[in-house]
């Protein structure tokens, strides 16, 4: 804690400040985790959503729909899509906790405390992201049960992509709810945003041979590149034919974007959203 009037050099003040800042982020984040753990029954009930999408919809559609790529079943295509979709939904809706805190008064306790607004926003973003990541992780087991050849390497490659996606969407959620006052409004707006951004991300259908308007909408959606990145990870480690890995990726200027490009877009989206969310929260 920095005490006014205490004699110390500038470096020490800065380091104390940073220590307090990270400690605040950590506290806010750990509160979210405790709450997540305490609500695990409710959390588990939400898992019916990916089960329906992957097991029922995926298996059902695979039976009569074949993709234009030999050796790839529709469910293989849908698997990374469902991971992305569930991560996007949960991360985004996690930000509702700010509105709940507002409604139940706890936000006042936080706002009147010496914690910096940026630290509070970051703690909230990381809390929502962690809970989304932990909830989406079991989909990988579900995928294995559905016959996708999941490997440890695939898991290790998917984890960072999922974390970045979760942080980005959690931050987007925080940016949206920050100026809002009522819990109901938040829920409507989220429905209104999450469906289109997931639909337009290539989570449910390949971004190939689309009419121009749909092609443009999917390409300006940064999530398209994250979803494609996740699919390329899955296909690569599931021992698909190499040509299958990029056969369903979006095409820009006659070429499939490189992995590096997709990583950069994902990272940039994540950083930008976090920045915007902190700003929005400070202003609220």
């Amino acid at each position: 804690m920095i005490r006014p009037g205490c004699v110390s050099n500038k470096g020490e003040v800065v380091s104390n400040f940073m220590q307090k800042f990270f400690s605040d982020v950590y506290i806010i984040w750990s509160r979210e985790l405790i709450r997540f753990w305490r609500n695990k029954v409710r959390v588990l009930s939400g898992f019916s959503f990916p089960i329906l999408w992957l097991a029922v919809f995926g298996t059902g559609l695979s039976a009569s729909l074949s993709l234009p790529v030999p050796g790839v079943k529709f469910i293989d295509f849908l698997f990374p899509g469902v991971i992305s979709q569930y991560t996007i939904f949960i991360a985004m809706f996690g930000a509702i906790s700010i509105l709940q805190d507002r409604e139940f008064g706890f936000l006042k306790e936080i706002l009147v405390s010496p914690a910096s607004r940026t630290a509070i926003a970051l703690g909230k973003i990381l809390g929502g992201a962690s809970s989304a990541f932990l909830q989406a992780l079991p989909i990988i087991i579900l995928g294995a049960l559905m016959g996708i050849s999941v490997s440890l390497l695939m898991l290790l490659a998917l984890i960072p992509a999922m974390i970045l996606l979760a942080i980005a969407l959690s931050a987007l959620g925080v940016a949206i709810v920050s100026p809002m006052k009522s819990l109901d409004a938040g829920q409507y707006i989220f429905q209104f945003i999450t469906f289109p951004i997931t639909m337009l991300s290539g989570a449910f259908f390949p971004l190939r041979n689309l009419p121009l308007w749909l092609d443009i909408l999917t390409k300006i959606n940064p999530l398209s590149y994250t979803v494609d990145l996740m699919r390329r990870i899955v296909f690569t480690f599931a021992d698909m034919p190499p040509e299958a890995v990029t056969a369903l990726s979006p095409v820009i200027g006659g070429r499939v974007p490189s992995i590096a490009f997709e990583v950069v877009v994902t990272l940039a989206f994540c950083v930008a959203m976090t920045f915007i969310a902190s700003l929005a929260f400070r202003k609220s």
Partner: protein, 265 residues
């Protein structure tokens, strides 16, 4: 004597009405100061401004020697608040709520443990410290909030209607504790209340109505001024016999309070 709070021409305007209009007052260090007025008089708005969570439209405030507008962080470190509505996380246990608070205020673990232990014992909540707050009654929540508000040893403690909705036993327990504490620690207490007998123990009381201070003085000075024998009667005499505020529907009152809080929370 040193000043704990100094407000100069403090004003909060909203589009269609003035919640607080150019009020000035001083609270001394170690003083037990009452701030009373009818619903919608501007009490909560004033507390919100004093405690850094609401920007005033104009005016100057200093709390615990710091400028509220420029040194928010120092002010936040020096104050404790018990809000009108509960502000505990009901999904955490009592102790977890206190732990969260201690961490945010930079309290060391040992100090936190000893203070939490002592304070919980005082408000007779030691046995329930590991229960979820959602299982508590209103009075139990209030007692935990009082413990929390005192945990970091604030110089100034704001109490916004702290005993609203509590039974007489809990109310007297809380006041006994606060009075003891105030004598022992020389903490400054800034109290808003509807329950006028609670102001009999105040060092000084300000009566506010429609955003303006009508009278300020010790309870005996006020009684003399208004020629009454209790603070209840002083209050009615000062703010008028009309009950315009009560004629509002509950919804209107809620909306008015909401507006007063700056459309927040």
């Amino acid at each position: 004597m040193n000043l704990a709070i100094k407000a100069e021409k403090l004003t909060k305007k909203y589009k269609d009405f003035i919640a607080v209009n150019q009020i000035s007052f001083e609270v001394f260090e170690g003083e037990f100061f009452g701030f009373v007025g009818p619903n919608g008089a501007g009490k909560s708005t004033t507390i919100s401004m004093l405690s850094t969570i609401l920007e005033p439209t104009s005016g100057k405030i200093s709390v615990a020697g710091f400028d509220v507008l420029k040194q928010k962080n120092q002010v936040r470190n020096s104050i404790g608040i018990i809000f009108q509505e509960t502000s505990l996380d009901i999904d955490l246990t009592a102790l977890e709520n206190l732990w969260f608070h201690a961490k945010i205020y930079g309290l060391e673990k040992k100090l936190f443990e000893s203070r939490a232990h002592e304070l919980l014992k005082l408000v007779q909540m030691s046995e329930r410290k590991d229960s979820l707050v959602r299982t508590f009654s209103g009075g139990m929540k209030r007692r935990i909030e009082i413990v929390r508000g005192l945990l970091h040893h604030p110089k100034v403690l704001f109490l916004d209607e702290p005993t609203i909705g509590l039974d007489p036993q809990t109310r007297s327990l809380i006041w006994k504790y606060l009075n003891d504490l105030q004598k022992r620690e020389a903490i400054t207490i800034f109290l808003t209340t509807h329950y006028l007998p609670e102001t009999e123990n105040c060092n000084r009381v300000a009566i506010i109505n429609q955003g303006e201070i009508l009278a300020l003085g010790t309870p005996s000075e006020l009684k003399k001024k208004y020629k009454q024998d209790s603070m209840d009667k002083v209050f009615i005499e000062a703010t008028g016999h009309g009950i315009a505020d009560e004629e509002l529907s509950d919804d209107d009152q809620a909306r008015m309070r909401f507006k007063q809080r700056g459309g927040r929370f």
